[in-house]
Amino acid sequence: MEKSEHREFVEVNLLFFAKSREIVGQKSILFELPKITTRNLIIDSITKKFPDLQQISKNILLSLNEEYLDQDCSVTLKAGDELAVIPPLSGG
C-alpha cells in the first residue's frame, strides 16, 4: 500500500466471513488503512486488495469493533481495531 506523507495510517485486523471468507481464502489479515476515512473508502481499499470481492461488494456490510458502520459515515480507526466484512446475513 502506498502512503502519502500527510496521511496517517493504522493497521487493523480485517476479518472475513462466509462467502467473503471463501473468496479471499483467509479468515483474517492485518490490513493498513488511513486513520481517518469513510466506510465506502474502506470497501474500496479492500476490493482493490481482493478484486474477486467485487462480485459481492455491493451487498456487504462492514463492522468496526462489533458495531455496524452505516452507509456514509466517517470513520476514525486506531491500531488493532477489528474490522469485519459482513456478507448478507442468513442466521436463524
Partner: protein
C-alpha cells in the same frame, strides 16, 4: 436474566426451557429454527452455519435489551448453533418467560425477526448434488 450463546453441537430444548422458567411466570414461549430438507425444489442434505461469534453474542444481547424495552418479560435465552446442522435439527432456539402469555409470545416473534436481521451468522445450504449456496435472509 439474558442468556445468549453460540455453540457447536445439538441444542437441547428442555435445558433451554429450564433456563428461562421462573416461579413468577405463567408462560414460556419458544421458537426453534430447524433445517428443512428442501429449498426451491432442491434437496438439502444439511446446513452449515458460521458466526462472527463475539459480535453475534453482542447483537443477541442487544435484541434482549430491545425486548425488555417493549415487553414485561422475565428471562430470555437465545442459542445459535454453528457448524453442520443436519435436516430436522435445531439451528436456533429462542425462549422467553413472562408472567402473562401475551408478552412472551410477542417477544419471541420479534426476537427471531430481529436476530435474522442483525446477528452476524451465515448459513450455507449443501445440496445432494454436492453443490452449495450461501443464503440470504429476506427482509
Amino acid at each position: 436474566m439474558n442468556f445468549v450463546d453460540v455453540v457447536e453441537g445439538a441444542l437441547k430444548v428442555d435445558e433451554i426451557t429450564d433456563t428461562v422458567s421462573s416461579t413468577s411466570c405463567g408462560a414460556v414461549s419458544l421458537f426453534i429454527g430447524t433445517t428443512r430438507d428442501n429449498f426451491e425444489g432442491k434437496k438439502v442434505i444439511q446446513l452449515e452455519y458460521e458466526a462472527y461469534t463475539p459480535m453475534a453474542k453482542a447483537k443477541m444481547l442487544e435484541v434482549c435489551e430491545n425486548i425488555r424495552k417493549k415487553w414485561d418479560v422475565e428471562n430470555i435465552a437465545m442459542i445459535h448453533r454453528i457448524g453442520i446442522v443436519p435436516v430436522k435439527e435445531a439451528s436456533i432456539i429462542i425462549a422467553v418467560s413472562s408472567p402473562h402469555r401475551k408478552e412472551s409470545l410477542e417477544a419471541v416473534a420479534y426476537a427471531i425477526e430481529t436476530v435474522k436481521a442483525i446477528v452476524p451468522v451465515w448459513k450455507k445450504e449443501i445440496y445432494e448434488n454436492d453443490l452449495s449456496s450461501w443464503k440470504q435472509n429476506k427482509e
